[in-house]
């Protein structure tokens, strides 16, 4: 095993141990997270949409399920289950779109099992989780029709995006919708920051599960993230000190 491999395994083991540990102590040692205004606004926007009989649209981006870029979409799927629960009393259940075939299937599966759990199986429609376009820009091209025809009022973007993020958010802004956007791609984050009403910065997109109260594991994993974050900061500082002592630039 290489040194890098060993380091990787250590990081992995620490992460898993922290997640399980925080899960165990969650009841006794409850978590306190900072405010993320975008998520607070999202909660209210979704409730308002349900009250007004309007639809929530969740975009899972254009990333492939089997790629590293699927992470924000997987987080979006977790948030989707919560949003689907909350909108299951609405006349218009949530609609999910994506640019990847496998992700569209996962979206449908998530919706189906969520509706079954809340005893609202009749709300599930095979068309409520759909592939919108096979390429990133064609996916963005399909958005205006969905936003206009499906009577959408909340436009949630959580997935892998490239420059099409700017278009995807702008279509929502032009339609006067509530737009919240997050991605793992830094350029897409920058475009969301400029265009979207409620941008999710950096890793905030991965915190949707904890902030929308999907489950304790989401809370535990967020605390594990913070723990590893501090570990990383300390390690980097130590590394800098050691190298500085070793010799000049």
């Amino acid at each position: 095993m290489t040194v890098g491999g060993l380091q990787g395994l250590v990081v992995l083991a620490v992460f898993v141990a922290l997640m399980v540990g925080f899960l165990a102590v969650n009841q006794r040692w409850p978590a306190h997270f900072r405010r993320i205004p975008a998520y607070e606004a999202l909660r209210q926007a979704i409730e308002r949409a349900v009250e007004a009989g309007e639809r929530v649209h969740v975009s899972l981006g254009t990333g492939s399920v089997i790629g590293p870029e699927s992470a924000p979409a997987l987080a979006g799927l977790a948030a989707l289950t919560r949003i689907a629960r909350a909108t299951s009393i609405s006349d218009r259940p949530v609609v999910v779109t994506t640019g990847d075939g496998a992700m569209a299937i996962l979206a449908r599966d998530s919706l189906r099992s969520t509706y079954q759990e809340v005893g609202a199986s009749e709300l599930y429609e095979p068309t409520s989780g759909r592939l919108l376009g096979a390429t990133p820009l064609s996916y963005a091209a399909g958005l205006p029709a969905v936003l206009a025809n499906e009577r959408v009022s909340v436009h949630v973007l959580s997935g892998a995006f490239g420059v099409e993020a700017g278009l995807a958010a702008d279509f929502g802004e032009r339609a006067g919708l509530f737009v919240i956007g997050g991605s793992d791609d830094v350029q897409a984050q920058a475009l969301f920051y400029a265009v979207a009403q409620h941008p999710l910065i950096g890793e905030e997109v991965f915190a949707s599960g904890a902030y929308l109260e999907v489950g304790t594991m989401h809370t535990a994993s967020l605390r594990a993230q913070d723990f590893v974050r501090f570990g990383l900061i300390v390690l980097i500082l130590l590394g800098v000190i050691v190298r500085t002592l070793e010799g000049p630039l």
Binding site: V65, A104, L106, L131, A145, L167
Partner: protein
């Protein structure tokens, strides 16, 4: 009960497969690498098959709109037509055949490029509104930085680049290669932390997007 058992089996399957692929990143043992490669190849095939399923779903959605003459059914008709014609031509004459390339160069290429051109205006409108919308120092810093980078990137009007333009180029390079590089590295590390947590939640079956 049966549902529970089945979902546990699917979770175990995802974990088992994921474990081999994940260990393959760190451990060089032959059988782990073989399993990893096999699973990755299967996944690539499945992803392609999933695209076909997704396209069938796309077609179904728009076919339904046309058959029920829902709002915007004419556009759906246009989509079905263009989809069918392109698919048939590209399958019959192969994707590298003249017919498919003609459609690609005539429709997809210009349409996507034009959409990118529209993006330019969308971004500038957003940039124009940003400070007024957010009214905080960070948005001011954001737009100020963007302005400096644009000044340092764009060509200078006139016959030759003067010292001011050179200084702007250097400043742009300094911003992008030092300040932005530092921020980008921090963001990348944070995103990696979030991605790791998300992936582990799926592997530990806390999230089961494949349903139960």
């Amino acid at each position: 009960m049966r549902v529970l058992r089945l979902s546990a089996i699917w979770a175990a399957l995802a974990l088992g497969v994921g474990l081999f692929v994940l260990l393959g990143y760190f451990v060089d043992l032959g059988f782990i690498q073989n399993f990893r490669l096999t699973f990755l190849r299967w996944a690539v095939l499945l992803a392609a098959a999933a695209l076909v399923v997704g396209l069938a779903n796309l077609l179904g959605v728009h076919w339904r709109k046309v058959s029920l003459t829902e709002e915007g059914w004419i556009y759906s008709g246009v989509l079905i037509l263009s989809f069918t014609v392109t698919l048939v031509l590209a399958l019959v004459f192969r994707p590298d055949g003249q017919a498919a390339l003609f459609i690609f160069n005539t429709f997809q290429l210009p349409l996507e490029s034009s959409l990118m051109a529209v993006l330019a205006v969308s971004l500038l409108v957003a940039g124009f509104r940003l400070v007024n919308r957010r009214r905080d120092l960070l948005s001011l810093l954001f737009v100020g930085t963007a302005l400096m980078v644009l000044l340092g990137t764009g060509p200078a009007p006139g016959g030759a680049e003067g010292p001011v333009v050179i200084a702007l180029r250097d400043f742009r390079a300094w911003l992008s290669q030092v300040w932005a590089a530092g921020g980008a590295r921090g963001i990348l590390l944070g995103v990696a932390l979030g991605a790791t947590a998300t992936g582990l939640r799926v592997l530990l079956a806390a999230d089961r997007p494949y349903g139960s």
